[in-house]
Symmetry: none
């Protein structure tokens, strides 16, 4: 269910909308898609929320009490801290806006109410995709053991190794951070993700499996146990 190529941490979305019904609706739809949502009814609240938990994207209503959404967007663009947060504008269907003025908006996308949640989700994801930095895709090689994130392949002396997703991620992490010991907890954080509830001993099992798949090629000896501490990837 989770997006494989995106970051492990959930994206935070701030909804700035004065109508509670719509706000809740948006929040619910996004939540259900696995996003983390903050809500604000006006620019004032929004500012507080942005400071405390920095959102990855802002859904901004065009009409806000006090300050129009477009002015607020412009203001967000003028502050270094918020300049790079993508904004999707929400506008009511009837509103006729000055086109040229609109062109200058700081928004990255634009949705006209009423809209389907499907469309909303699609746009939110599209914008986040555009903005998310590309994952590290460089090929890593150690003594004939090659891991290529781009093709999702692991080869030992040119020969393809069949490897499961978690083993791949584990090996990827290890091979990218060699010679250093990691506790089970640290491995869970880095490989499984920060908010994952999994037994520590599960790491052992995956270490075992990784060793098993590397064994035919003799690379299992690189996965080393450091008793009472954790595991390490080392070529020594």
């Amino acid at each position: 269910m989770l997006e494989p190529e995106l970051s492990v941490a959930k994206d935070k979305i701030l909804i700035v909308e004065d109508e509670e019904a719509i706000r809740d609706m948006l929040g619910y739809a996004l939540m259900k898609e696995g996003f983390n949502c903050d809500e604000a009814a006006d620019a004032e609240q929004a500012r507080n929320t942005i400071e405390s938990s920095r959102p990855n994207l802002i859904l901004l209503d065009w009409m806000l009490p006090g300050m129009s959404g477009i002015d607020y967007a412009r203001r967000l663009r003028n502050v270094p801290e918020t300049r790079d947060i993508p904004i999707i504008m929400l506008t009511a269907k009837g509103e006729e806006a000055d086109k040229v003025r609109g062109l200058e908006t700081g928004a990255d996308d634009y949705i006209t109410k009423p809209f389907s949640t499907k469309e909303l989700i699609a746009r939110v994801k599209a914008v986040l995709r555009r903005y998310s930095s590309s994952t590290d895709t460089s090929i890593i090689e150690v003594n004939g053991l090659v891991l290529d994130p781009e093709t999702y392949r692991v080869t030992a002396n040119g020969q393809d190794i069949e490897i499961s997703p978690t083993e791949f991620k584990l090996l990827h992490f290890f091979i990218g951070h060699p010679e250093r010991v990691y506790s089970r907890t640290q491995l869970l954080d880095h490989v499984w993700g920060e908010n994952v509830y999994v037994e520590e001993r599960t790491v052992d099992v995956h270490i075992r499996r990784l060793r098993k798949t590397l064994e035919p090629y003799g690379f299992d000896r690189y996965i080393q146990t450091v008793r009472s501490v954790g595991y390490r990837f080392s070529t020594r």
Copy 2:
């Protein structure tokens, strides 16, 4: 593997938009980004310009005097000379989302006014990037599997394969980007286009059908599943 950044020659962009203010504004923004721009106020002018200097991309206003943008887009698609020129539609915000959906048949992307120049540039570049690498009109051949974008034809060892449009596009993309894994989302972005609201699972179905049509010739094994990530085209 990086996308070949062949920006030696500037990309030419044709702007078809009746409102002069917007046309100039777009032209200026694109020019500043290093693009070469032609401008046209209606379909008539556009046709002339296309003949004389063939653009690499067309920005097309939804509402044109005389002929609607969508009709014009469809017409461009029916002529071999212009079939492969990507089109980005400019739509005013009033237009219904489902109408926009319909337009996706002809356009590669669309932008809803108002939009930021940042957004415009990003989309233009995205579309060009997509096209420069995959819609090369040169014939591609891999171990007897031949794909000819010019004639929309695929042959296996000289024998014609019947293939549907989407399968063709999918295969075209794959064959032009071999070995690398693509998530379903990425495939949707590249093959279907960035703003298409289609279920991820739909990709599976098309993969399946592509495999089925390639199966009689043994090429189905090139379409590989990478569990928990996506699919890849590989001859290994």
